[in-house]
Symmetry: C2
Subunit: 468 residues, 2 copies
């Protein structure tokens, strides 16, 4: 029964299979039991492991055989070129922020937090509880678990000032992650061929979702204070757009946090043009020296369609987000969500609700704030010390990222390549621009693994930059 003896049998048979002719029959279970002095259970486990890797196949009642692997002949898929036509705006996208890397590099590229920033104990306990509950074997309503809808509505309601009607639980639609929410919002509220205003730079996943939805992206210049409100008003007038996508709190990548005055002006502009603001509050739980202030809380006339995700603060395994929308927009959002994903795993919803309603959740968020502050300060100091040519447009008051402007003459692809050759992975800023980049940038994530290596990472960037 021991794992060790099963592992040994797998290794041994693996070597045997590698040289055996396809279709060859393995010794019988009885023979293997005898040969290895192992139990039948252990032998069966080893055979299943080989089968799972596609090396052997069992024919019940007959035996186990080396899998026949047909000789690989290169297939000509040329006919697909005609059938598929050219990609409609959505080529194969290789985002740097999504790359998975070996442990021995200094990773400043990621879009996701390191495991040590997650409430691991809460998440594991919630999964264990949920495994025993109804949610493991039942189907939730299409719009989501009512208790989770209530939680999302209440969270936004807390930020709602007097005189504004807070959202109700039925305004909430649960989604399998915020990326789905972007697609849903762009399809449901804008539609293919119609204009959508976006900040430039902005979140690369939103640029991707816009391309998939086939909407026409209209970039609006933005920076460390948020979008320019005059340019925004002109873009609405010029294009007749009925929607703006933005991240008002701790925007990715710039870290911009809208002032109350800007939030008021943008909301006023959106209202005047009878338009929607798709507010992506991705960093709601990631404030460091400021608290998020959802624009959605200021609006009860259905202009702001609000998107909030729990994936980044609860766990990457808990792909749960919510759209809060009112009026007919909510119906459109729900219809598109159903067409896209029917419903979201009730177990993941139960786990998300369990984690965020634990008393320890608030404490976790306070600890996260301190850790993010320390990590941010460490990376800022490392850049000041070792990359003097880099200009940090602003120290972000929340979120995961520093947005670094490099000298105009920087050869960005070469810089990224040379850093990687020296064991430091960074994300080129170009991926965050829906239009031509306004200059060479890096987006550096301070929420990744091993902050102790930030100084070394900055040194490598500094040296690579100095060589140019």
């Amino acid at each position: 029964m021991s794992n060790d003896s099963s592992t040994r049998i797998v290794a041994d048979l693996d070597a045997w299979v590698a040289t055996a002719p396809p279709g060859a029959r393995l010794p019988s279970t009885r023979e293997l039991v005898r040969r290895y002095g192992a139990s039948p259970v252990t032998v069966q486990k080893a055979l299943r492991a080989l089968a799972a890797r596609g090396l052997v196949e069992s024919r019940p009642g007959v035996g186990t055989f080396v899998r026949v692997r047909p000789v690989a002949r290169p297939n000509d898929y040329g006919w697909q070129t005609a059938a598929l036509g050219s990609p409609r705006g959505l080529g194969p996208w290789r985002s740097t922020a999504l790359r998975t890397l070996p442990n021995d590099v200094i990773a400043l590229h990621s879009g996701y937090p390191d495991r040590e920033l997650l409430p691991e104990r809460l998440v594991r306990a919630a999964f264990t509880r949920a495994a025993r509950g109804d949610a493991a074997v039942s189907r939730p309503p299409a719009a989501g678990l009512p208790e989770l809808q209530t939680w999302f509505a209440t969270e936004l309601g807390h930020a709602t000032p007097a005189g504004v009607a807070p959202p109700t639980p039925s305004d909430v639609v649960i989604l399998p992650g915020s990326q789905s929410g972007l697609g849903v919002a762009f399809r449901a509220l804008v539609g293919a061929g119609r204009p959508l205003l976006m900040e430039s730079p902005t979140y690369w996943g939103a640029i991707l979702a816009a391309a998939q939805a086939g909407v026409r992206v209209v970039p609006v210049p933005s920076g460390s204070h948020g979008p320019d409100p005059d340019e925004l008003a002109r873009a609405f007038e010029r294009t007749g757009a009925r929607a703006l996508y933005a991240q008002p709190s701790f925007a990715n990548p710039t870290g911009a946090h809208w002032s109350p005055a800007l939030a008021g002006r943008v909301l006023e502009t959106v209202r005047r043009h009878g338009a929607f603001l798709v507010e992506d509050d991705w960093a709601h739980d990631l404030g460091i020296t400021a608290d998020p202030t959802p624009v959605a809380a200021l609006d009860d006339a259905g202009h702001v369609v609000y998107l909030r995700s729990l994936t980044k603060t609860v766990s990457p395994a808990v792909r749960i987000a919510a759209v809060i929308a009112r009026g007919p927009a909510r119906e459109r959002v729900l219809a598109d969500t159903q067409a896209e994903s029917m419903y979201v795993s009730g177990l993941l919803q139960a786990v998300a609700l369990d984690v965020v309603t634990q008393p320890a959740w608030r404490g976790h968020l306070r600890g996260l704030r301190h850790q993010l502050a320390a990590r941010r300060n460490l990376l800022v100091a490392a850049l000041r010390d070792h990359v003097p040519a880099a200009h940090l447009t602003a120290v972000p008051r929340g979120g995961f990222n520093l947005w670094v402007r490099l000298p105009d003459t920087t050869d960005l692809p070469r810089l990224v390549r040379e850093c990687e050759a020296d064991g430091v992975v960074v994300a080129p800023g170009d991926e965050w621009f829906p239009a031509e980049p306004t200059g060479p940038h890096l987006r550096l994530n301070y929420a990744g693994p091993n902050p102790g290596a930030f100084a070394d990472g900055a040194r490598v960037i500094g040296r690579a930059l100095a060589r140019q």
Copy 2:
């Protein structure tokens, strides 16, 4: 600490809050502890329960207050009508198959199996194991867990005859449920405005996904033997379509199971037109008196894009499906999947893999086959006994559904309404037609709860039909 005393405090405070003015401050925790003779933990738990329901709100360090609910004034969302325009093919869809109902009705409408048909023990054990593993707190590769990709490829490989190259693990893209797979396939392989051939009748979720993707649906007549191959060839010629969507094994709703001859002819037609067959093998594990025979197993030239889901046989909480595609089509599918959902919860993937690689999984599938056979036979007999006017076009050899033709003169909406008034919920066949229905049909699901009530259900349908 007892649940009972917490429940009692909630009930008590609930009554108090109902009559208190908004903004009123609740007694302090200390006071509540004294008043109820409960522990501070119990009191806090009660307050959290009230907060979760949106009745009170806590201001840390200040106290707990009755939530201010602004006077509900009806909002005018009329401006949204102009911003949204008319729905682009995707109105609010209320599928009968998705309805959740109270326990006291006879439910023959559902698209999902009853809990007693699920491998509940395996699912719970897998979730419990996964809660302790890496997958609970980490992010898998975008295309899916390699071991799960291998499993899906191996499953299809088992059906691949000699001389045809089986798919490789890298041809597999993991998705959050098969509904997502339909959207992905229609967007990635067809695209808005282009023609897609579909059987009529066919799965309503596919009709919905096609509307969402904005493709132009071209219906091809189909029945209990599958689509008419001559009509199919004519439709390809007439429209220049480069894709067909179909369910060759135990189609929903007709139960059609393609003969080898039909599979060969369809594949030949698809090849001749340089087109794709999007094969939705939804009932792969639901054979009763026949085994599924994927058309994808016969093709290694990238013509068949194969979709298989585990949601219906593992658990509705395990939203896991896979697309298997080769050549550039696989790149398009992966790009669209990433744009739509970034990646699928690694924990759900780990659970799915755990369940289907357990030795008990095969035994579960054998038991499922027997249960489906018994349930199908029971409902067929009940219809013969009590609904003589209904015509069962064929007894399906797999799947969940009977497809019942009613007399031409049947007033279908009235029939459905009257059955429901008598406690029997049935799905009107119209929802499965992408074009005008060819006649009044019912789709009756024999995998739902309480097969002991099938006879009573049939009696109600028979009586309602006799009244017309």
